[in-house]
Structure formats: C-alpha cells, structure tokens
Symmetry: C2
Subunit: 241 residues, 2 copies
C-alpha cells in the first residue's frame, strides 16, 4: 500500500537509509497525522525520487524513518523559470504555489518599475514551494530566488534562454511557440498589475530571444496569468505531452 | 480620457441614460474613490456593452451617473460552462473569480460523491463573479448557479453540449480538442480534490459528448486545474484566437 502522507526532507534517500526527523516534521507526522511505528510515509528530497519509508522511531521531538523502496524516480521539470512581480501577500503566495504545481524549475520574483514591493520573505515563499511539491506529487522542489531588479536580470540574461513575455498591451498577437525549437531553456515573465513601463517594454521587445504572447481578450490578474501562461508553454513545449 | 473605475450596474445603459446609484455603490465611488461631480466612471450591465458615464449627483447615500458614450460593445464569452466541486471557502472564491476572468459564460457548483460541502453561499459567489468582471475589463458577468448534484445534472445533460472532463486518474491521455467542431456549446468539469467515484467516472466516460483530458504529470489543485483547463479550451476553441 502506498503512503498517504508525502514529506520533503533534506536528507539522502536510498535502500535501507535512515532519515532522522526534525521537530516540526515529527510533530506533523505523530502529533497531527497520528502515525505510529510501522506506518508508511512517502519521502522525496528533490534528488533521489520518491521513497516509501517506514516509521522506525516516533517521539514528540523527533523520530526516524527508514526507506523501504523507491516508488517513483526523480522527475525533473523542464528548464523553465517563472519570473513575476510580487503583489499582495496572499497572491504572491498563490503564484509560488501555482508555479511549483505547474512545473517551474525556478521561481524568480522580479522588481519592475511599477512594482510596489521592494522586499519579499524568500524563506516563506520557499516553504510554499515545498508544500506545493508535497501536495502535487512532484519529486522536485523549484528554488525561489531573492527579489531581483528586472533591469539587472536582463543585463545578465543568459544567452539562448528564451523569454515568453505576457503583456496586456499586446492583446491579439498570435502565439507561435510550437514552432520554436524544443529543449531550449525558457523563462516566462508575468507583468506587474500596473503593467510594464515603456522603457521595460522596449527593452523586453528588443531582447533577441523574447516572444510576446497574448492571454486572451480579458485582463487577467497576475496569478491567473501565471497559470494560463505556464499551461500554454507546458502544452506546446513542456512535459504535458 | 477613459475612466479608471469600472462598475457593474443592474440598469439599462444608453446615450444620455441616467443611472441611479445604490447606497454601497455611492459609498464606493464618493467615499472610497473620492470621485466628485463631473468625474468619469465606466459602467457595464452585462447587456449593453461598456459606457463612459459622468457623475451628475454625488451624495452619501446615493447619486446619479449619466451615460456619455459607449466605449466598448458587449462581448459575450463563448458558450462555456465551468462545473466544479466546491472546496474550502477561499479556494471556492478563487475558482469563481478565475472562471469569470477566463471567460466562462456560466459557473455551476456541483456536488459529487466525494464533495464535502453540501451548501454554498450563492449570493457571495455571484458577487465575486461581478467583482472579477469589473477588474478584468469584461462586459459580461457569468451567472453562478445553485449547488447541483452531479448525478442530477448528468440526468438532464443538454443534448449536444460537449463535456471536457479533467480526471487525475487519466494522466497521460492526449487532448484532441482542436479536432472537434467549433461553435458547439461546452462545459468543463473539474473534479473534487478527493477525485471522482468509480460510479461517477463510469458515467462520465459513457456520456456520448464527453472528452477526457489530462493536465500534465503533476496533480493540480482544483483552482489551478480550473485555470489550466480553461486556458487549453480557450486556445483551442474559444476567444483567445
């Protein structure tokens, strides 16, 4: 029988491997979920796939799990970054959660000219990405980077990384993603709710690897746009086959 | 200059038409947004397109707007219903908001065998749909229906309405939406977080107009799945051209 509880751990996983639990993990498994010695838990660490593990020791402040067998191999997401301008707290959390579910490899909060927030809680956002990976059955957790200025990011833009750039001002333009080469590294940039500045728009359009796409005739909120853009990309070029 | 504030009203709109405001609308326009006589507001009522209107009278408990000219014609969404099983309050609100932004014509909360909730606040969900339409620039507000049992809905399923049915158990199946006829009425059904029962799954698969689709290799939360499924549909058959 496969475990109902999935847990991300920062520990190597392998046949017979013992995995010590941290205090909050022990509280969750034994206090909240009421698991006892012998119960099954699914573990992943972003590197060794998913393992079925058995509770060997259960305590209030800790415990030990022992890996029994691998239930799924590591499945890396496609090399897709999601860039977005942080907005109100709840929606920023949602964007990170959605990006992890939708299979982003890396989540990059960017500061644009019309972005209000000048700081993020990177650790809290990373925890949301971990939780989303636990929920969605993924074996990989995308890294959430520090808040970076869009201009600085474009100055050092990696050669060859394609950029899909979703602009409200571009309502109606066609999307020809499927005709681009498969297997290239990509990034999707979701604009801030106030839109891009003219300078940013010019700069983005001038980038040789940029692809402007439309997300339909209605204006989407940033969190909706993130899911819609990633759906289009995953269908055309990603792992949604 | 085009108005920044968009307001849904239940009143006919047309050249020179006076539109009396309700108390909470007056509070929003004059108390919160601090608009004065002469200011511009964009109005829509789901039938007459979008109109630029001018504040003619502004009071604490009411006011009058006068329509000046039509800024956009009515744009009906495609004939697409979104059916979903209500989940936790915040995520149910999100699904309704997303469905309105993504261009559903009708939003139908359904009760499945594994749905926990047996009631919804239909009026509150309808208000979310109105707010989403105000935000996204739409000229149409989808109706949110009462909670309906899935079985009863399928018993009376309209002949010819196609059903796109998103099932976690169907990971890997291909999507051939684009080959179906355009212009047909459609519905998208998002399963409950606990999945469909075997009986429901059999019944859905047996429906002559049903199309099972996969939303990639990760398990999506219901609100993410709603946006992803509507994106796929809008791109293939809807108004995203």
């Amino acid at each position: 029988m496969s475990a109902k509880v999935r847990l991300y751990v920062e520990h190597p996983l392998g046949q017979g491997q013992s995995v010590p639990l941290e205090r909050d993990q022990a509280h969750y498994l034994f206090g909240v979920m009421r698991l006892a010695v012998g119960a099954r838990v699914a573990l992943f660490n972003g590197q060794d796939g998913e393992w079925q593990a058995e509770v060997a020791e259960a305590g209030k402040r800790g415990g030990v799990l022992v890996c029994v067998d691998q239930s799924r191999p590591l499945q890396m997401p496609p090399d897709l970054w999601l860039l977005f301008a942080p907005i109100k707290k709840a929606r920023t959390d949602f964007i990170v959660e959605k990006a992890a579910e939708m299979g982003a490899a890396r989540i990059v909060p960017v500061q644009t000219e019309f972005t209000n927030s000048d700081r993020i809680r990177q650790d809290r956002l990373q925890a949301h990405a971990v939780e989303a990976a636990e929920q969605c059955g993924g074996t990989y957790v995308p890294e959430v980077t520090e808040l970076t200025k869009l201009g600085r990011l474009l100055d050092a833009w990696p050669a060859g990384r394609q950029l899909m750039f979703c602009d409200e001002a571009e309502v109606g333009s066609a999307l020809q993603l499927a005709q681009t080469e498969r297997g290239l590294p990509w990034a999707i940039l979701i604009g801030p709710e106030g839109g891009f500045s003219d300078r940013e728009r010019t700069r983005l359009a001038a980038l040789p690897s940029s692809h402007v796409v439309s997300l339909g005739p209605r204006i989407l909120r940033a969190d909706t746009a993130a899911v819609a853009a990633m759906t289009i990309w995953q269908k055309a070029l990603g792992d949604w086959g």
